[in-house]
Symmetry: C2
Subunit: 277 residues, 2 copies
């Protein structure tokens, strides 16, 4: 079943990293002028800013701050470095609270010098250690399963099934999941696992972009929606069948797009959102 057309921009959120050449102030102005309603803030854009004032500035532009990206990178063979990561995640939770956003997205990390099982256990341990902080700040932690091509050093959580297992094991209202089509589109279990995620109340965020054919870089060659082969409408349909009606977040890392005029790119994102998502 195809989902309803996206006739307005009320659910459109864009990640600051998608238009990386812009400062957060410029992004806020341009998003607002184009009718974009949501923004997900990457931490690097907050550098040197007063975070509370930045949050206020974004809201004054009519933007909902959908989430803060990103915490995570928990696993490390060295216990001291794991503690450093947990401390940094506490700061990220504080930053999310100062921004008044209710979600911190976790790119969970992996340490290639140790077995994946160890990295996976350290991720769960770290998330459990952060629960009191998340609760007291009112910030939910969204585990984002990453594509298996990132299992070496970016995330040991590589399928939605695994992420569902972990969220269910942690079993806290402060932990849920972020579903990103780029990481998960290939998975034959995707429909089933999205349903499971929704039924357990764990579906916190939905990220879109496209998988280019061919893809020329493992990290920085994501496609604009419609440029690739991901069945975006089908996956959105599965997400919405769970009752999810939150923001649809455009998260694109692309050297090719970052080299172009960003205002034009923003216009293309908006057209692609209407046509292909």
């Amino acid at each position: 079943m195809k989902p309803k057309e996206l006739t307005d921009l009320s659910q459109l959120c864009i990640h600051t990293i998608t238009l990386k050449p812009w400062s957060i102030e410029e992004a806020a102005k341009k998003f607002s002028a184009s009718g974009v309603k949501g923004i997900t803030v990457w931490r690097d854009t907050l550098e040197g800013r007063n975070i509370k004032q930045t949050g206020k500035m974004l809201r004054e532009h009519g933007l909902t701050i959908v989430s803060l990206c990103r915490g995570g990178f928990f696993p490390n063979k060295d216990a001291g470095k794991r503690q450093v990561a947990i401390d940094d995640n506490r700061r990220a939770i504080d930053e999310a609270a100062e921004l008044e956003t209710s979600i911190l997205v976790l790119v969970c990390g992996a340490d290639p010098s140790q077995p994946l099982e160890d990295s996976r256990k350290q991720i769960q341990d770290a998330i459990e250690a952060l629960l009191p902080d998340a609760e007291s700040a009112g910030v939910r932690l969204a585990i984002e399963p990453l594509h298996p091509m990132y299992a070496d050093s970016r995330s040991a959580i590589n399928t939605l099934s695994q992420a569902n297992d972990m969220a269910e094991a942690v079993h806290s209202p402060w932990v849920g999941l972020a579903v990103d089509v780029y990481h998960l589109w290939w998975d034959p279990c995707l429909e089933k696992e999205i349903k499971r995620c929704g039924e357990n109340g764990n579906l916190l965020a939905f990220h879109v972009c496209d998988w280019k054919v061919p893809t020329t870089d493992l990290l920085l060659d994501r496609g604009l929606m419609g440029e690739g082969c991901i069945p975006l409408k089908q996956i959105r349909g599965w997400v919405e069948e769970t009752g999810f009606n939150g923001f649809i977040e455009v998260e694109i890392f692309s050297n090719a797009w970052w080299q172009k005029d960003q205002s034009e790119f923003l216009n293309k994102i908006i057209s692609a959102y209407r046509e292909y998502v």
Copy 2:
């Protein structure tokens, strides 16, 4: 449980593509002189050769021809092109028979212009269409699940679980699976699925290399065993626990290694096989 050390080269097979700059004649000489006992032949190396005589030449060098690489690339939106692929696979089966190898490895293919489910169905249909040819030639078809980063255009079969499902659905002594660590190492279900594959008599081939950190190219940056983060001994242990005692096949596509002296590379493969596999 760690598997036994590989103290001799009796199970070492190398794919011709691993030492791509060499002709098959040169590879045969060098493998033989180095004590390598098995060779997997890529079809491109047979171009312009009499295949039966090439098979004889390889055996005269003391080499077992472990398999022919590769058939597959079945899915296509266009039925005529699917037929072309089936015809080409019939030729590949004939070539395998002429070489007197009993396995044809299938890189199953995917057509990014159609849904993955369609590609998956077309793969199974094609394999079923080839069963009489496989049987009459005495050649088993080994479905090789490929890493999810190849789901766009190289294979719609992306986990061992899926490949097991398909082999069990086809349910023929002429169809089994090739387990390649590069494609599967990240999968949290790998141990279970290798066991399942073995129990069903479907484990036909075992391919090794390594996953480099970082990997700089989606296709041609595979690592020599020991250069990356794949737990090779652990996975070999799982494979051998099923009773598998066939060849261990070194399959590396690497622009970096192909630019080096190939005799030196062969020596490094042999050391890495003893030390890291």
